[in-house]
Amino acid sequence: MATGSGEESTSAIMDDYETLISTTDVELLKRAWRNEKAAPEILQYESSLVQRIKEQIELAEQNVEMFEADSIDPLTVSLYQMDLDRTQFLLRSYLRVRLQKIEEYLFHILKTDEYLNRLSKQEQMFARRCTDDLGNHLDETVLSKLPDNYQSILKQSITSEEDDMVPVPRLDTFIICKAKQYLSSIDFEPEYSTEITEMERDLLTFVCYKFIKRPLEKGKIDLV
């Protein structure tokens, strides 16, 4: 826990090197969880990370069972169990936040290929089944009883030009973030170059989400 002492440049280099060699999967999952929770739209599914974590969790569960069978000292067993619980919490919370976002923006995600590709296979299946069920439910309870021109799920009425009954994620929400390295204007989209030109490393910044979308996707920014 650095308290601000030491040279600026050498500590920056050491930080990068250390993060490179020591970022555990749990750290990466925690970062993915935080980003997912703070972002207003759904982010890319980290399939390889989730796969690795699942394998490590299974291994840990087997270890705990083995320890209990061999009657190893209960303190050690409970500590391994705690570590397991913490990792499981992260994984579950990550998946849950994504499911909540899918449910909230269900129709929009299925309509937009960009979002659809960010889902995992199981999430896509879930989204499709959900839309079918929701569609049937709304049809039976409400829509079939409305006058003819107003029966669509996606449009307010037949006269609407776009699907205006579909909620869309608001990309202009403000979020708090930290940059992992100094960012200059080439890292941001050119259309926002009047709004944001640079971002210093490790400085808490309140900024509009859509401005930092691009560096976020490249992993240069962390949402806090």
């Binding site: 826990m1 308290t3 601000g4 555990t24 999967d25 749990v26 750290e27 925690k30 935080r34 929770k37 703070a38 972002a39 207003p40 974590i53 490590q56 969790i57 840990a60 303190l75 050690t76 409970s78 500590l79 391994y80 705690m82 570590d83 397991l84 913490r86 990792t87 919490f89 579950r92 919370s93 849950r96 936040v97 909540q100 976002k101 909230e104 923006y105 776009e162 699907d163 205006d164 579909v166 909620p167 869309v168 994620p169 608001r170 202009d172 929400t173 403000f174 979020i175 708090i176 709004e195 944001i196 210093e200 400085l203 808490l204 910044t205 309140f206 900024v207 509009c208 401005f211 806090v224």
Partner: protein, 208 residues
């Protein structure tokens, strides 16, 4: 329940902030012998009696609760340092450098490691004073918000979490009024719902 911190997706509950703080490393002095622990989140140990070692906070608290170690309070929690920080906070408008999770860490130590902190009442009152002064500064700084990007040096995790929702909405309102992207009359009625279909055609109003 995982993920059920708040009805709104993007808010972290205080427990979740504490969860993130618990991964910070702290020094402990174990009083038992134990082999290395190979966790999913990293390898720690082996533990020898009276030899100090670094472990994550959740592990330290677990061992402390079972009476297997004593926790060494971190450097920044000494009375001299905290008094200096408090004076710095009172004298200047900026925030003094403090660890990102100082609130959670000090709370955890006060709750679980009373005996390990010398002069705990003094330390506790210093930390609370620091929290008060900083939060007062946060409130005064909120009055100075403007529309675009705001940067803030040295704010801690708890303070960020407290003002996250409000400042997000406030900055969004500033941004919207400054840029006038949506037609004003439809905007008023739909503001009550959190999700607005934003695919309306833009109408450029006269520049001010």
């Amino acid at each position: 329940m995982a993920g059920q911190s708040d009805s709104h997706l993007s808010l972290f509950s205080p427990e979740e902030v504490e969860f993130m703080a618990e991964d910070e490393l702290v020094e402990i002095v174990p009083n038992l012998r134990m082999d290395s622990l190979n966790f999913i989140c990293g390898d720690y140990g082996p533990f020898y009696p009276q030899i100090a070692t670094q472990v994550p906070f959740w592990l330290a608290v677990a061992l402390k609760k079972r009476g297997k170690c004593t926790i060494r309070p971190p450097q920044w929690m000494s009375i001299e340092n905290l008094t200096q920080v408090l004076e710095g906070e009172r004298d200047s408008h900026a925030f003094q450098p403090l660890p990102f999770h100082y609130v959670e860490i000090s709370r955890l130590l006060f709750d679980h490691a009373r005996e390990d902190i010398p002069d705990i009442y003094m330390v506790r009152s210093l930390v609370e004073d620091i929290r008060d002064v900083r939060f007062h500064k946060v409130e005064t700084n909120l009055e100075k918000f403007t529309a675009s990007t705001v940067t803030w040096k040295n704010m801690s995790a708890m303070e960020v979490n407290i003002i996250r929702a409000f400042s997000g909405r406030a900055l969004q309102a500033f941004y919207k009024h400054e840029n006038e992207q949506v037609m004003p009359d439809t905007d008023r009625t739909q503001d009550r719902q959190p999700q607005i279909p934003t695919i309306r055609p833009k109408r450029n109003l006269k520049p001010r």
